[in-house]
Every structure is written in structure tokens, then in C-alpha cells.
């Protein structure tokens, strides 16, 4: 199956191929990202690591690290 991923920080969209039944945690692994430092969002709402993705899903990935006051 194929999932469309918008990487928010990099402001670019990539298509990721995953085995059927893959979860958000599998997607993060494929992107080489840690779940403790990234949030996956679908339709404006965060989704947990165990959420099962489906072919054609469109998600956004937000890294949580930043720097400020």
C-alpha cells in the first residue's frame, strides 16, 4: 500500500510504500524517525503509533523538537 506523507518541518511531501496492515510505528521506522520525538497527524488530529494505516491515507509528520525561551 502507499501512504502520502507531508513532512511539516521540511515542507515536502513523499509517497511511502508499506506492507498492507502497517501501523504508524512502521511508517516512522521506514522514515527512520523515533515515535518519542514525532507526532503523526491525520485529518488534523494526532493518531497513535498503533493506528493501522490504509492504502491512500494522507498523513503529516511533525517533529516535536524546537528551541525557545
Amino acid at each position: 500500500m502507499r501512504v502520502k506523507v507531508r513532512l511539516i518541518r521540511e515542507n515536502r511531501v513523499v509517497d511511502i510504500d508499506l506492507p498492507n496492515g502497517s501501523r504508524v510505528s512502521d511508517l516512522l521506522k521506514k522514515l527512520n524517525l523515533r515515535s518519542v520525538s514525532h507526532i503523526v497527524i491525520k485529518n488534523g488530529e494526532p493518531i497513535p503509533e498503533s493506528y493501522q494505516l490504509a492504502d491512500g491515507d494522507e498523513v503529516e509528520v511533525l517533529p516535536v523538537v524546537s528551541g525557545g525561551l
Binding site: 515515535s35 518519542v36 520525538s37 497513535p48 493501522q52 517533529p63 516535536v64 528551541g67 525557545g68 525561551l69
Partner: protein, 339 residues
């Protein structure tokens, strides 16, 4: 396929691995707010605090802190004044402009009185200017160090002027785990002791509090998203090798790796330090504290002869930076006059 909330069966928005739970929007907000209260109550963070200056950068940590402080202000009986600083960081990203806009939007939304300090207008320099010209002006510190000195000075000075009992910053659990690890490695005992949710004031210093110290970075981000808080998620354009350089980035990554492998690692690490190790260190240090952060700071400091703020040297680090900048400005004026 949606995952169900462990408490109510509604669709879960996040998995909290260290509690082995999956929570829906409402229960996650409730969970984060309960942890905020639990942590601040355990370490008596709001004891004797009636007025807080909330230092807000416009990022998710300080904005989540602002909303949480606001949400529980009547419970703990303090008032909040917002403070944000326009540091003059642009680099084609309008970094400071966007950060200040996000902070001000939330101050207005929550109807919180606030102050915007424009570094350029108020003190005659910007962080971009220091990055570009600092070395030539004889400022040897890295730009991030100048930025830190600047922010700490302004936060303290405005908090004193506004009659606040404490300055609140948005340091989260990941920040504290990293600072504790780094200072432990370097043996910087006085810095290590500062890694605590509340540091006492006195001697020209306002007390400092870190109300979101018990929340993971991911939790402050989730709280901001779920509360529709518009935050600025860009990183500072001056961060070339991550926050604090390559070594700090490596430590942060290793800690995240441990957290991924052993959920709750950072929480246990920070709480073990605060509950069991720090109390043993405090008695032997120059900085006192009776455990609830209410005793006066015991370091004796002099005063800066320029600004009158506390300083270990004749001229404080902030005035030293300013004097180098204004020296350059006056040289330029002299040259243009032909003096």
C-alpha cells in the same frame, strides 16, 4: 483503523507508553493537566507565588505552559503577566516576527496582560547582528550564549520591574534530562543544582519556575495541538548543529533512544535526580534551599556598575555585550562626522 481510548472507547489520539495507555482527546488533555498539577504540587512550585511572569517564545513548550498556568491560576491563586522578546532573528525565515506573533496571539486569546520587549529598540542590538558582527566587536561568546544571557537578563529585569514573584519558562522533561546528564558529565555542581522546578529568588534575582518540567516534549506538543494553540514550530536559524552543538544533540538523541526502548526512562531519571540525588547535593552547595525552593539564594553577588543588576563581576555579562555594541555604534558615528 482507529485505536480505542483505554478509558472510554473513543478513538485514541496518542499512546502513552510509560503508562501503557491509549487516550482520546479528552482523556489525554485530562492526563496532561493532572501531571502538570501533580508535579507542581509535589515540588511546591506555586507556594507563595502570587504574580508570575510567563516567558513565552511562541514555541509549543512555552505556549502549553501559558495555557496550563492560565487554566489553573484560580486553583493556585496567582496572576500571570506574559513576556515575549523580539530577538531580531530573521535570516529569511522571519523567525522572531513569527515567534512574537504566536505569543501575542495567545496572550490576547487568553486575555493576559503582556509585554513585548524589542531587543533592537530597547537595547540597540539584535541576535542576527551579534552573529554577523560579534567577533569583530570583540564578543567571543557563541551567538547562542549571547542569546541566553540576553533572554535571562531581560526576563529577570522585567519580572523585578513588574513586581513578579517568579519567572516561568517552558523547560520540559526532555530539556531537564539533557541538562542533568550534561552537568553530571561535566561535574558542574552549581549548574546541576539549578535543575529543579523552582529556584529561589533574592539578591536581585526573581525566583525561577519550570511548571512543565514533568511533561515530555511530545506531551507539550500534543497539548498545544489538541487545544488549537497556534505555535511557531520552526527551529532557530542560528542552530547549526542542533541545540547546544553536536555533543548536546548526541546526548539528546541517546536519551530519546533510551526512552524509545524503555518507556518512562527520562521521567524516572529526572525524578530520581530531583527526589533522591539533589537533596544530598544541596546541603554541601553555596546555593541553599529547603527542598521547596523557598529559602533565599545564598550566593553573595555584587552589582553591575552600569545597570545595577546582580553580577559577579564589575560589569555584568549583558552590559559587557551592550557596551561593545554601543562602542561600535559611537565609532561609526564619529567616523561619519570625521572626528
Amino acid at each position: 483503523m482507529a485505536v480505542k481510548c483505554s478509558r472510554c472507547g473513543k478513538p485514541a489520539v496518542a499512546e502513552i507508553r510509560y503508562t501503557r495507555s491509549r487516550l482520546c482527546r479528552e482523556h489525554l488533555i485530562e492526563f496532561i493537566e493532572r501531571r502538570f498539577r501533580k508535579g507542581n504540587e509535589e515540588f511546591k512550585v506555586f507556594k507563595n507565588i502570587r504574580r508570575i511572569v510567563a516567558a513565552v517564545s511562541g514555541g509549543k513548550d512555552s505556549l502549553a505552559m501559558l495555557y496550563l498556568l492560565h487554566r489553573f491560576s484560580s486553583v493556585y491563586g496567582y496572576e500571570i503577566i506574559g513576556l515575549t522578546i523580539d530577538l531580531g532573528i530573521d535570516r529569511g525565515k522571519e523567525y522572531s516576527t513569527k515567534s512574537v506573533e504566536a505569543a501575542v496571539e495567545s496572550f490576547k486569546k487568553l486575555d493576559i496582560e503582556y509585554v513585548v520587549v524589542d531587543l533592537s529598540r530597547e537595547y540597540g542590538y539584535t541576535i542576527d547582528f551579534i552573529r554577523d558582527r560579534g567577533r569583530r566587536l570583540g564578543i567571543r561568546r557563541p551567538v547562542c550564549s549571547v542569546c541566553g544571557i540576553t533572554k535571562r537578563y531581560i526576563m529577570n529585569r522585567f519580572a523585578l520591574e513588574l513586581g513578579a514573584d517568579a519567572v516561568a519558562t517552558g523547560h520540559n522533561l526532555n530539556d531537564l534530562a539533557q541538562f542533568i546528564f550534561t552537568n553530571m558529565y561535566g561535574g558542574h555542581i552549581d549548574e546541576l543544582i539549578k535543575m529543579y522546578p523552582k529556584l529561589p529568588g533574592g539578591n536581585g534575582f526573581t525566583a525561577k519556575i519550570k511548571p512543565v518540567f514533568m511533561l515530555y516534549e511530545k506531551e507539550t506538543t500534543l497539548y498545544s495541538i489538541l487545544n488549537n494553540i497556534r505555535f511557531h514550530h520552526d527551529t532557530c536559524p542560528h542552530l547549526e548543529n542542533g541545540i547546544g552543538g553536536r555533543f548536546q544533540t548526541a546526548i539528546r538523541e541517546k536519551l530519546e533512544q533510551l526512552e524509545e526502548e524503555f518507556p518512562g526512562f527520562m521521567l524516572n531519571y529526572v525524578l530520581t535526580y530531583m527526589r533522591r540525588i539533589r537533596p544530598l547535593m544541596v546541603s554541601g552547595s553555596s546555593m541553599g534551599g529547603d527542598g521547596d525552593g523557598d529559602s533565599g539564594e545564598k550566593i553573595s553577588v555584587g552589582r553591575c556598575r552600569i545597570c545595577g543588576m546582580p553580577s559577579l563581576r564589575d560589569v555584568c555579562a549583558f552590559c559587557s555585550i551592550r557596551s561593545r555594541v554601543s562602542l561600535k555604534v559611537s565609532e561609526t558615528i564619529s567616523r561619519s562626522r570625521g572626528d
